[in-house]
């Protein structure tokens, strides 16, 4: 992910943000009698009309099961479903549609790799290397795999600014390392990790790499071929698409070699009680009727992001995070978790003596939606000795004004607590 550097205040956004905002109906509402300021895209982004319309159109006119019927609706559904796969393939620059597996989301994609690739390939005393800043979805599947295979989990720490300690990563990569699983962008810190470099190091050590791209995909261009990663996972609902749909990119030669994870319809060629033969990629990994509407909605979301330009979204969000960081640094009672030199649009913070949940409730009364809690990254909380943080995360529809509203609302928080 290449995030252009931009100056902050007064800089012209590369996006026509007002036009973008008009595309997102959910943004135009009052919450607690205040105009909604949505700063929780890191948890789930809002959907543009184009995605809502694609979902609506499919459900109203084209719904049927895919890959089965000879009738017109089934063909329409199949065409739309497969067209979405092609859109995703082009969006992440995979070499082939065979490398694009639809899943329920990032979590399922990671579990698929752990249970299919991992169980087939790992043995006792093999090692899996993850990082201290992973989301639980990129920790627990590997812990389960370790329990099942006897493999050992190793963890690369990050420093107090939220930067991965690459020297420790190099030390911990050994001939025993079989899998490296690392997040592209930390959901709790905003850190953009040098995944290209990590992939090279891991490959030199003979390990395959899974990149958790849930937070990276919405915030800038991703090219899996240029990255040379083995697996890349992301979710639809963080990139302006629906929930319940996600993608596992896998290198074709690896996917080809992996056993199916779940069995059922669609993933087979022939079934008899003596022998079942499995379908070709990517269907081998798509057992059962998929989330057809979700895939079609994701395709529309990919079209939308492509039309805005991932580079432009990244540059816009960079302006927002720089501005928010400057403002936060000017507040004596505010602490930022994650001050990496390269960050996506995520500001994780605390206020002296005020718990993040209380901040979240008071901001909500001001119409400002943020996330509070451990962000499913409890080891990150442990690193800083806190149980929770407050997190504002940005999308292409957010503005400098939104950040000003956030900081005005923070004054209300202080007013409430410091009488």
């Amino acid at each position: 992910m290449n995030i252009p550097r931009a100056s902050t205040q007064g800089a012209l956004s590369p996006l026509d943000v007002e036009a973008v905002r008009r595309d997102f109906p959910a943004l135009h509402q009052q919450v607690n009698d205040r105009p909604l300021v949505y700063l929780d895209s890191g948890a789930s982004s809002q959907k543009p009309e184009q995605v809502i319309e694609a979902l609506n159109n499919y459900e109203r006119h084209d719904h049927s099961n895919v890959h089965r019927g000879v009738h017109t609706l089934s063909q329409r559904a199949t065409e739309a479903y497969e067209a979405s796969r092609t859109k995703v393939q082009q969006f992440i620059n995979a070499r082939s549609v065979k490398e694009v597996v639809f899943t329920r989301g990032t979590t399922e994609a990671i579990n698929l790799v752990a249970q299919s690739y991992g169980r087939a390939k790992l043995q006792s005393d093999d090692e899996i290397l993850i990082t201290e800043m992973e989301h639980h979805a990129n920790i627990v599947p590997w812990q389960l795999l370790c329990e099942q295979t006897g493999a050992k989990l190793k963890v690369v720490p990050f420093d107090d600014t939220g930067v991965l300690e690459m020297s420790r990563l190099k030390d911990q990569l050994t001939e025993k390392t079989r899998i490296v699983a690392v997040t592209h962008v930390s959901n709790a810190l905003g850190t953009v990790n040098p995944v290209g470099q990590i992939i090279q190091l891991a490959h030199d050590a003979g390990a395959v790499v899974l990149v958790d791209g849930a937070q990276a995909i919405p915030h800038g261009p991703v090219d899996v071929t240029a990255l040379e990663c083995d697996f890349y996972a992301f979710s639809g609902h963080k990139v302006y698409g629906p929930t319940g749909i996600g993608v596992l990119y896998g290198r074709e030669s690896l996917l080809e070699d992996m056993p199916p994870w779940q069995g059922g319809g669609d993933m087979i060629k022939t079934v008899s009680f003596d022998e079942t033969t499995y379908n070709d990629l990517p269907y081998k990994f798509e057992a059962g009727t998929p989330h057809i509407a979700g895939a079609i909605g994701l395709g529309a979301a990919v079209d939308y992001v492509t039309a805005l330009g991932s580079d432009c979204i990244a540059a816009h969000e960079h302006q927002l995070i720089n501005y928010a960081t400057e403002r936060a640094n000017a507040e004596k009672d505010m602490h930022i978790f994650g001050q990496a030199p390269v960050k996506a649009g995520i500001l994780s913070f605390a206020l002296d003596g005020i718990h993040p949940h209380d901040i979240g409730t008071i901001l909500d009364q001001e119409g400002v939606a943020i996330r509070t809690g451990h962000h499913c990254a409890m080891p990150v909380m442990t690193h800083y000795g806190v149980s929770a943080t407050a997190r504002a995360s940005f999308g292409p529809y957010n503005t400098i004004d939104d950040i000003d509203v956030l900081f005005r609302a923070m004054d209300k928080v202080r007013e409430m607590f410091r009488q």
Binding site: P356, D358, Q365, M416
Partner: protein, 152 residues
């Protein structure tokens, strides 16, 4: 902000800043831990019960939001010197009050202090913050100290 002040009353902020009966009891003979896995709030509640099965000493420690900490503090003040049966009645009464309902004990117990926390009923996402310490107390007193979670 007026409504918010119902939630964050001065008394609640005072309990949050200066929690009563805070700390582990060295002579505790009952203990339970309560967690809210969704947000990371955690409380440990300790009791020393006398031979007459009443609360001689109570203490808590943990971390959480102002509502969670204040509610835990108020809980300890409420149940101190009560019998286990009476304490359990207060747990029932409080958990009903937090969701804006009456319980069998509502008219029979003095709930004036607990009413300070009644504002939480307007914030559904925060009710679990208020009830965590009370459920944990009940577990310590009557369920053999099984861990309590807000998500079951």
């Amino acid at each position: 902000m007026t409504e918010l002040r119902d939630l964050y009353q001065a008394v609640i902020l005072d309990h949050n800043n200066n929690p009563r009966n805070y700390g582990k009891l060295t002579l505790a003979n009952r203990h339970a831990e309560g967690v809210n896995p969704l947000c990371g709030d955690q409380v440990n509640v300790f009791f020393r019960l006398g031979d007459d099965v009443s609360v001689k000493e109570v203490g808590f420690e943990g971390r959480g939001c102002a509502i969670c900490m204040a509610s835990a503090s108020i809980m300890t003040e409420t149940v101190k010197h009560l019998s286990v049966v009476q304490a359990d009645q207060y747990v029932t009464a409080f958990c009903s009050l937090a969701v804006g309902e009456n319980s069998d004990f509502t008219g029979r117990l003095d709930l004036s202090t607990l009413n300070i926390l009644a504002g939480v009923k307007a914030y559904p996402a925060r009710i679990k913050c208020a009830t965590l310490a009370w459920h944990t107390a009940r577990s310590a007193l009557s369920k053999g100290g099984a861990s309590v979670t807000t998500e079951t």
